[in-house]
Structures are given as structure tokens and as C-alpha cells.
Symmetry: C2
Subunit: 367 residues, 2 copies
């Protein structure tokens, strides 16, 4: 499965896999795809360094990339404490009462919240990049808009391609104008931050909007048939994420969460502002319902919402509070019904792709 982009990056198959887990990223690259490690959870540069060392050691010289969350708009001199101060007390009370209703215990004394928004702040993302540029990464992706111009330039100086996620053709053109190299067209069905335009419509619109820049199709892709569909729509590859969450290499923080993902249908996700303040697709839970309920206080804008719920999310995850336990995931969760190795999932993608090509050639009278 070779496109201009996959050839340029030196990968066997035009399948990109985004994951927060180093073992999954490395396994995707080893399987013949392009593993992309999500950096947002690394608040300490040394932790990122440790995991990039590991990935580097376990990819046998095969290419891989890094995904950061870097706002294009710079907010000078604003600290986490400044943002904390902007959160209304009524919202804090809503968090407390919702957790109390479900008997969610407090974190043990001295244990900090594991889930922080600090990775979303520019200075943290920049310290991640200072680490990352010491490694032979081939791709730098940004999940929130185009990266700042100096970051794009620095990446290019290191021969690193820059990708940015887009939810509309207009958004994709903006990225192209900013000088990025690859657009990830993130359809409505995708997990995490996403817009309202579904992949079937968005992919060809993005392709047309930024031609000749390559587009990766993201959202709803978990089988080889879906890979074939995305490539038929003009994409130069697929950007997958959700399907790696239930692989045996994934280090999910909660066994119960893995079980919920394996059991969920495609109707069990919701596009909600509950997690970050921007619409992000995730498992629907009583937690997302509470935030989306018109009779509640509603969500705060990014980055306030993320800071507001950070400790609550840590508590829900630590104590595996079933009714509230969720995670960002796409509608493809309905087909994630068994735990398999990254290699097995990957081989199913490439085999299913070949089957889809056979079928479509028969339909086209070319078999």
C-alpha cells in the first residue's frame, strides 16, 4: 500500500497510527506502518526522553513520529494559576457534587492528579520539542491548529515533515498557508477533538483544498475496507488512533476501561466538551451526560474546562468508577471487540485492504 507520502517517509504501508503508548508506536512502525507517539501526557521532558529512547531502540531504524498539542495562538505570561482563578466556584461545586453522587473517593494525600492540562500549554510543548529534535523523528503532528511558524521552520531544518489536524476544508487551507506539509482530515466520527463534517465528505474536500499537499484520512478507520475507502477518496494514507487502544501492547490505566471499550457499540460515543472545553468524541458516560445536560452549568471554554476536571478525571480513573469512566475514542469503537496484538490488528488492515481491492475490481469489471 504505497503512496507518494509513504514512499517519501520510507514506510511499507500508508497507515499512520497515533498512540499515547511507546510500545504501541514502536510496534506499528515494526509492523510496516508509521507509529506516532502522542506527547501530551509528558509534563516532564525527562519522561519523554526516556520513552523516545525506548521507541528508538525498538523500531529497528524504521521511521516514527511525534504528536504534540501546541496552540497556534500564543498567550503571553499566563500561568496555570491565572487560569485556575478564572474558573467559577459554581463549576467547582458541580464537579464536587457529581463526584459525590457517585461516591468517588479522594486521591490519597500527596498523590497529584495524573491527568494535567499542562501538556497543552505552549511552553510545555516547546520543552517537548527540545527533546524530540534530538531524535530522528520523521513527522511532527500538531493536534490543535497549525504549529507556530518558528516550530515549522525548526522541523524543516531537521528534515521533519509537519502535519496538522483539520476538520474542514477552510481549516485545511489555513494549515497549508501556514507552511505545513501534511493535512490530517479529522472526520466527525473520529475520536478526540473533531468537527461536524464526516470523513466521506471531508476527505475529498480537504484533498481538493490543499492539492498538491498530501492528506491523511482520520476518523472511522479500523478495517482494511475502511483503509481502501479512505484511499479511494483521495487520501495518501490513513491516520488511525482508536483501534490501538485495545491492543495487548496498550498500557491502559484501567482494566475496566479496556472492557468498556471492547463492549461499546458505535452508538456509545458522544461529541462532548466535557473533557477539554472543545468538542471531542469520547465514550458516553454519566460524566459526559452531566456536562451536556442543559439543566447543568455547562462546560467552560478551553483551557478552563480541562483544568477544572483534571483531578476529577484522575479520581474516576484511579477508582475505576464505572458510570463515569470514559476516554476519547471514535465511532469505530463498535468494531473493537477483541484484544489482539498490534501486529494482528495491522495485518488485518493490510489483508482487508487487499480483499476490498479484489471486490471493487470485480464490481468495476476489472477482475
Amino acid at each position: 500500500m504505497q503512496t507518494e507520502l509513504s514512499k517519501k517517509l520510507g514506510v511499507e504501508h500508508a497507515i499512520f497510527g497515533f498512540t499515547p503508548f511507546p510500545a504501541v508506536a514502536a510496534a506499528i512502525s515494526r509492523a510496516g506502518g508509521f507509529g506516532v507517539l502522542g506527547a501530551v501526557r509528558y509534563t516532564a521532558p525527562d519522561d519523554l526522553k526516556r520513552d523516545l529512547d525506548w521507541v528508538q531502540k525498538h523500531t529497528d531504524g524504521l521511521p516514527y513520529g511525534l504528536d504534540v498539542v501546541m496552540p497556534a495562538k500564543k498567550v503571553e505570561g499566563v500561568t496555570e494559576a491565572d487560569i485556575e482563578a478564572m474558573i467559577p466556584e459554581s463549576h467547582r461545586e458541580f464537579v464536587r457534587s457529581t463526584l459525590a453522587k457517585h461516591n468517588v473517593p479522594e486521591l490519597p494525600e500527596g498523590e497529584a492528579s495524573g491527568w494535567r492540562i499542562t501538556g497543552w500549554m505552549e511552553q510545555v510543548a516547546r520543552s517537548q520539542l527540545d527533546v524530540a529534535f534530538d531524535y530522528p523523528i520523521k513527522l511532527l503532528a500538531n493536534a490543535l491548529g497549525s504549529p507556530p511558524a518558528d516550530v515549522i521552520q525548526r522541523a524543516h531544518e531537521h528534515d521533519i515533515l509537519v502535519a496538522a489536524l483539520a476538520g474542514s476544508a477552510r481549516h485545511a487551507r489555513k494549515h497549508a498557508d501556514a507552511g505545513i506539509d501534511i493535512v490530517v482530515a479529522q472526520g466527525y466520527e473520529a475520536g478526540g477533538h473533531t468537527g461536524e463534517i464526516a470523513s466521506m465528505v471531508l476527505t475529498p474536500e480537504a484533498v481538493e483544498a490543499v492539492d498538491p499537499l498530501p492528506v491523511l484520512a482520520a476518523g472511522g478507520i479500523g478495517s482494511g475496507e475502511q483503509v481502501a475507502a479512505a484511499l479511494a477518496l483521495g487520501a495518501q494514507g490513513v491516520w488511525t488512533g482508536s483501534i490501538w487502544l485495545t491492543t495487548t501492547e496498550a498500557e491502559m490505566h484501567s482494566r475496566r476501561l479496556t472492557e468498556k471499550l471492547l463492549a461499546a457499540t458505535s452508538s456509545d460515543t458522544v461529541r462532548s466538551r466535557a473533557l477539554t472545553g472543545k468538542p471531542a468524541r469520547q465514550l458516553r458516560t454519566e460524566w459526559t451526560d452531566a456536562w451536556d445536560d442543559p439543566s447543568g452549568p455547562g462546560t467552560l471554554p478551553m483551557p478552563l474546562q480541562g483544568l477544572l476536571v483534571a483531578e476529577a478525571v484522575s479520581r474516576i480513573q484511579k477508582y475505576e468508577v464505572d458510570a463515569l469512566l470514559g476516554t476519547p475514542v471514535g465511532q469505530i469503537v463498535g468494531r473493537m471487540n477483541s484484544e489482539r496484538s498490534v501486529r494482528q490488528v495491522f495485518d488485518d488492515l493490510t489483508r482487508g485492504f487487499e480483499r476490498a481491492i479484489d471486490r471493487i475490481n470485480r464490481i468495476a469489471g476489472r477482475a
Copy 2:
């Protein structure tokens, strides 16, 4: 473009085109596809008879079908007046004040509302079928759930295949259990009544759910690349609708509406209950905004909402009130940018399909 289903129906290409306009339906069949005439607007059986006569005369013996809106659940002895009586006065007042705010004139005395919900009622749909079964239609589609068992049986006695729209795998299985022959998997991006699962995810789920019954992919399809994608996902054909609205053969009631469709982007639709009480994708207007506004009275359930707004919709259309003027249409509206004949649109679909097959074969290393 031949699948088992297209062969069974005797059409050259597995492209189904739903349209309220007889001239468009006939032109789709003549171009090599399968035209499906929407019956919902025919309240008088004689009008339907006249138009089916016309289609029959203009399809040169090629196959075509009919789409009705027939609720599976029968409500005995309820008249339109009974339903009118269930509408709260506050909702009627909201209609009046919203129209007044935009200076929408009254209909001339004696002119009845053209847009009625009566086509949605079972007795009307049954009188349509009494007419339709006299014609050699090859397909009967139902837009609201499975048709009643006796209707399916009657269709089968006439060698007519029965199709039903589904927005989820569970919904598709219910149709299969009811004895229908074809599932139309209606993705989130589709125009008209639709669910929340996007085509990329829904199509293969529906295919798996009802195998070996054929599935048609609906939602987001307006180019040959999208046809190829839908077939790669396992569909035995595509069900298109929106793209025929801006053809030269379409008899749109308002020139201004055609202009709005040609100008709209894929971000200009909304899935709203404003028109019928069930979520239906349509152009976003100040009319849909008013109904979706949390500070307003909100919409009523089907069929109350449709009855409540019927006259208002007629007035908005008659006087082409720009801010309020809309129509059901899918996200593909963003690619409907020029008026072309049905034949041109159809030939673009088949040519684009061949291009997509060429491209995907190159990617797969089979070119």
C-alpha cells in the same frame, strides 16, 4: 459498476437516485442508474398516477422504483384534526412570532398549504401503494422503519424488492427480521432523517449485520470517488439524493433555494428536528436556529412538529424568505456548485469511479 443487486435489478450501474421529481427519476434510469421517485408529496392518488404514467413513458422500459413514508407502527383512528389538537398554543405563537419577525406574508385567501404531512400518514401511503402496484416498479423503499408485513408481502407478490432506511446496525437487523430485501444505510452526513453514525462506520456495520442481504450506502455521496469508497466498504450500491436537487431537470419550487444550495458549503447544514420532529439534516437557516435555540420552546415530536410548521414552510417557500428558506440536504451540498443535467452528473459519477479504481490499484501495486 455491477453488483449482485444491480444485476438482479437489471441496471447498468449500482447507483440509486432518490428524488421528488419525475423528470429526474426518469433521467437517472435512462442514464444507467436506478431512479426512485419520492411519493411523500402526493396527497392525491391521481397526481401520483399522472406522474408515474409520465415516468413509465420516459424510462424506455428501464427499471425504476418508488419511495414512500410509511410508519411501521399503526395508530388507529387518529385524524389530522386529532393531531392538530395536541399542539400547544405556545408553539403556535412561536411560529407566528418567528414569521412576523421576518415579515413573512400570509398565503393568499383560499390557497392551501402545499406542504402537508398527510403523505406521512399510513392511509395516504396505502392509497399511494394502491396506485403504484399497477406500475412495473422494481423497488419499494420506506423512509421510516420497515413497512408493515402485509405491504412487504404485497410487494413480493408483485416481484418488487423492498428497501428500508437504517441509521444503525441494530436498526438494520430489525429491518432484516421484518423480511425486507435491501437495507439503505443512512449515514450521519446524509440529507433528511438520519442518525449519528457516519457512513464510514455505518456501512460496514450494516453489511455485517444483515449479511447476505444487500446494503446500499447513503450519505455523503456525490462523486465517483465516494461511490468507490462506499463499494469498498461492502455496499452493493449507493443511494444518492441531494446531488440531484441542483440538476437542470429538478423542478425546485424556488429559484432562490437552488442558489442557496449552489452556494452552501459542507458546514452549512444542520441535523435538526425543526421540520418533522425527528432529526433530519437540512440547510441551516434562521428557521432551524430558532427551533434549536435552547431559549425557545423547542420542537414537538413527530408528527406534531410537521403539522405545526406546514403552513409556515409553505409561506417561507412561496415568498422566498431568504433567512428562513431551507430544504433537507446532506453535507455533500458543499460539492454541488454548478447546475448540470442529470446525465452530466451521472457520467461524472461513473467516470470518477473509474479514476478512483485506477488510483487505488496503483496504490495497491496492481496497476
